[in-house]
């Protein structure tokens, strides 16, 4: 009996231990640097730091402060416009460009690797370039719009509360659409060519082939791409912070920049953490609802 248990332990040990040893360092780092801080943010959101490393429990007071503050509604609205606008247009531009690149024409390969440049440009560098292009007096975008007769005078894009956020969204589309494009293009390449050939024999036009073959078969790629770009954009801090810092006024303030300011300008870790918890909750709810809706629709079909 004793021997059999010993034998069992020995076998389990042999079977599982090597795997654990191999992943242990990575798992330890991720637990210490991701799981523990996540728990700690929840913990901090219920506390106030009165002195260096000295916390006092305050219940939900931080949440009440955030939810009743004058910035919360505006920041939430901005974050929605910022995320929605960026994701939708990255999707549309990415799909359009991928369709273009899927045509078997000479020169497509060179262009398709050039188009990836924005994606490897650091966010801050992209912000500096776009800020220079948006310059109210010497900005080249003003000049281009003037030449195209869209504008009749230069405009201070980033200083105008009505258009500043949209101006940053445009920069974000430029910076991020190559990811969607790459995903969609890979999806298109994976569609068997004989489907198109058969449809063509049956007399389907190019648009019909696109809507009845390409789009439905890309659905799984669309799902994952939209999920990823939404999560990334929702959390994306660099462009907004570097281009306007949330201004003018609060016209471009998003959750990420607001949390940063509460934490590292005002040094109010408790309040900042409660806003971070709210942000995390929004993202979690979105992800679960997204997965749930897609799953249900998938089953219904």
């Amino acid at each position: 009996m004793d021997l059999r248990i010993k034998d069992l332990i020995e076998r389990v040990y042999r079977k599982h231990l090597p795997g654990y040893l191999f992943i242990l360092p990575a798992l330890a780092v991720m637990s210490l640097l991701i799981l523990y801080p996540l728990y700690r943010t929840f913990f901090l959101s219920l506390h106030v730091e009165v002195r260096f490393n000295e916390l006092v429990f305050v219940g939900l007071q931080n949440f009440v402060e955030v939810l009743t503050s004058d910035y919360f509604g505006k920041v939430l609205l901005n974050t929605t416009i910022w995320t929605g606008g960026t994701v939708v247009f990255q999707f549309l531009v990415g799909l359009g460009v991928a369709t273009l690149f899927n045509a078997k024409l000479r020169g497509v390969r060179i262009v398709s690797s050039l188009v990836l440049i924005p994606w490897v440009t650091p966010g801050v560098i992209a912000a500096v370039i776009w800020k220079w292009m948006y310059h109210p007096l010497y900005g080249v975008l003003n000049e281009i719009l003037l030449l195209l007769h869209i504008l009749d005078a230069y405009k201070p894009w980033l200083a105008d509360p009505r258009v500043a956020l949209l101006a940053i969204v445009l920069a974000a589309i430029w910076k991020g659409f190559p990811f969607s494009m790459v995903m969609f293009l890979a999806g298109m390449k994976a569609i068997p060519q004989d489907l198109y050939e058969a449809a063509e024999v049956d007399g389907a036009t190019a648009p019909a082939r696109f809507f009845h073959i390409t789009l439905p078969l890309l659905a799984p790629v669309f799902k994952i791409t939209i999920l990823l770009t939404t999560i990334w954009t929702f959390n994306y801090f660099d462009l907004v912070y570097a281009m306007t810092g949330g201004g003018p006024g609060r016209s471009t303030e998003i959750l990420a920049t607001q949390i940063y300011k509460l934490a590292f300008d005002d040094w109010r870790f408790g309040v900042a953490s409660s806003l971070a918890v709210i942000m995390f909750a929004i993202l979690a709810v979105f992800t679960f609802m997204y997965a749930w809706i897609l799953e249900r629709r998938g089953r219904g079909l």
Binding site: L21, A26, T41, A103, Y138, Y154, F269, F280
Partner: protein, 282 residues
Amino acid sequence: MRYRGNIATAGSWLRILTYLLLIGVAVAVIFPIFWMLMSSLKPTKELFVKPPTWIPQRPTLNNYLSILENPLFLRYFVNSVVVATVATGISIVIASFAGYGWGKIDFAGKRATSLFVLVSQMFPVVVLVIPLFQILRSLLLLNSYPGLVLAYLVYTIPLSSWLLKGFFQEIPGEILDSAKVDGCSHLLAFIRIALPLVRPGIAATAIYCFIMVWQEFFFALSFMFDDEMKTLTVGILGFMGQYKVSWGELMAASFMSVLPTALAFFFVQKHFVEGLTKGAIK
């Protein structure tokens, strides 16, 4: 039979239209980069003319020379190189073991733990920044290379473990099985057989990590506030607010910080795109 895709078959006018669109897209996407380069080559006087000149009338390298003489810019560059190199090195060592573990060994909890790796890659870092700040503060690691490197493992460990897991999985099982028949332990099979086989994958993963750290701004802004310790992204943003640094110099600095990673990227582009799309397509 020459079948040429689903767009270009409909007729030559459609092909011409496609080419025009292609050129339009290329011009629109490359324009900001082109403008950065052109602006960096203009003398200061020419930057501030209305309307702007499309091509520098009197091109000059003065912006590059003066930003290279700026001791802070060099310092930022060195900081970025050091932090990105060390973070990449540590991640590759840890993630090679982890990638082999998740990719090639069976154990209870394998699915759950590798799901954790996947989810970690999309984790909102804004939610982690305050506790990380406090951890680094307690360890007296704010404003230091080890502190920022530690923070960067948040990004690079999940990313590189995931990528390397994929590369290890591509090794045919029989090769490792035959090694085990010969009495090799997992560790020996890993070092002697698996590791040499995934060398190209390790190179691609390392470059990917390096690019990611090189681009990073949020943690660098939060954890490095002494001027000598800032990385390129934070440093260049700091330049933007100063009268001492002109737009021309700013563009020159930007160009020099994009160049290394853009070149590295084109070197591994194929691996990179494959790794990115593999999970989603299949």
